[in-house]
Symmetry: C2
């Protein structure tokens, strides 16, 4: 009981501090102090600091992947033998992560940085979680855009992911730069903006 609480507490605290200050910049001492725990608790519950990092990540990426697949399954069921529209495919990629942001404002900022983290193992965890989604999205887009060369489709998914990640990590900069004109509190609106932008990009005539 108490063990579970301490463990969850460490995960929550680490997630917050990682998002605020970075993984390398946050010491085990910082985490245990903020969590009101003792220094050895991280090693007791997660073996190493790295084990804690891994646990912080996988706790969120599992449900995220699941939700994306659920949406894509649903859309495929709806259309029967027809192709799922591009907008819906992109929505399934974008919306679950933005909803996760609502539930937990810390994780995605952290996650966005991890995507290009210098530590190969950390990148591997993320990109590994993203891979199945990437290929599922690619296959669905091939059906929706039968004339588009496969390489072009993959490049465009890559750009879409970039737009999404940059929104995770830096949308507050946009709010600042725009003097508040760009509202970042309405998640549904942001999702719609990304979907509109990226769907148009995906459907643009290929130059090949």
């Amino acid at each position: 009981m108490t063990g579970i609480t301490t463990k969850e507490n460490l995960l929550d605290t680490a997630e917050r501090l990682f998002a605020e200050s970075g993984v390398k910049e946050t010491s085990v001492r910082d985490i245990t102090k903020a969590a009101g725990s003792h220094l050895a608790s991280v090693n007791y519950h997660f073996n190493t600091k790295y084990g804690l990092i891994r646990a912080v990540i996988t706790r969120r990426t599992g449900p995220l992947k699941k939700r994306r697949f659920e949406l894509l399954d649903e859309y495929e069921a709806e259309v029967g033998d027809n192709a799922v529209p591009v907008e819906k495919i992109i929505y399934a990629l974008v919306a679950p992560s933005m909803e996760l942001y609502l539930e937990n404002p810390h994780f995605l900022r952290f996650a966005g940085r991890m995507v290009s983290d210098p530590d190969k193992e950390i990148r591997r965890i993320f990109l590994g979680e993203l891979d199945p989604v990437f290929f599922r999205v690619k296959d669905l887009l091939k059906r929706a855009l039968p004339e588009m060369p496969e390489a072009e489709i993959m490049w465009r998914i890559h750009f879409t992911i970039g737009a999404l990640i940059h929104t995770w990590t830096n949308h507050s900069d946009l709010e600042l730069r725009s003097g508040g004109v760009c509202d970042i509190t309405n998640e549904a609106e942001i999702i719609e903006r990304i979907v509109t932008f990226c769907s148009a990009g995906l459907k643009a005539p290929s130059s090949e």
Copy 2:
């Protein structure tokens, strides 16, 4: 003479190591050892490690900003009183950075990470360098897309920057994932792909 060489050598070495392993992960010891210098040289030439980081960044961002403005000036001169086409505006935003990548493959990977760096001061340097370009691009796009609400334009520039940065940091992942189908050696082709994708996104009808 020798001083300049040592200094440049430290900058080059630091840039490479920062890109490969991260700023926090790279110690002054690592840098001076790899540069064939002595431990105190960084403090001698740059005062602190932070001074070195700053020098590594500003050495590249200055020329990058300059080149973007040159291109935009050129395009504005070409069209006289008409609006610069969206494609050209985006090209001026994208191409100089990808050309920088050709000259120096290390910097942009490093730079892409710095955009979302937990260290506020490092982020500030980057976003400060980007700000004038952002607003210039915004003003030009307002003329090219007179019906588009300003907030929507700014969001779409934000997505464009995201696609660009993700390409800086992660295009080798795309090559891997695609099994080599996506070729990352042809810079001109990548530039064209980003410009096509983002221009279409920018011109998509606004839902507002």
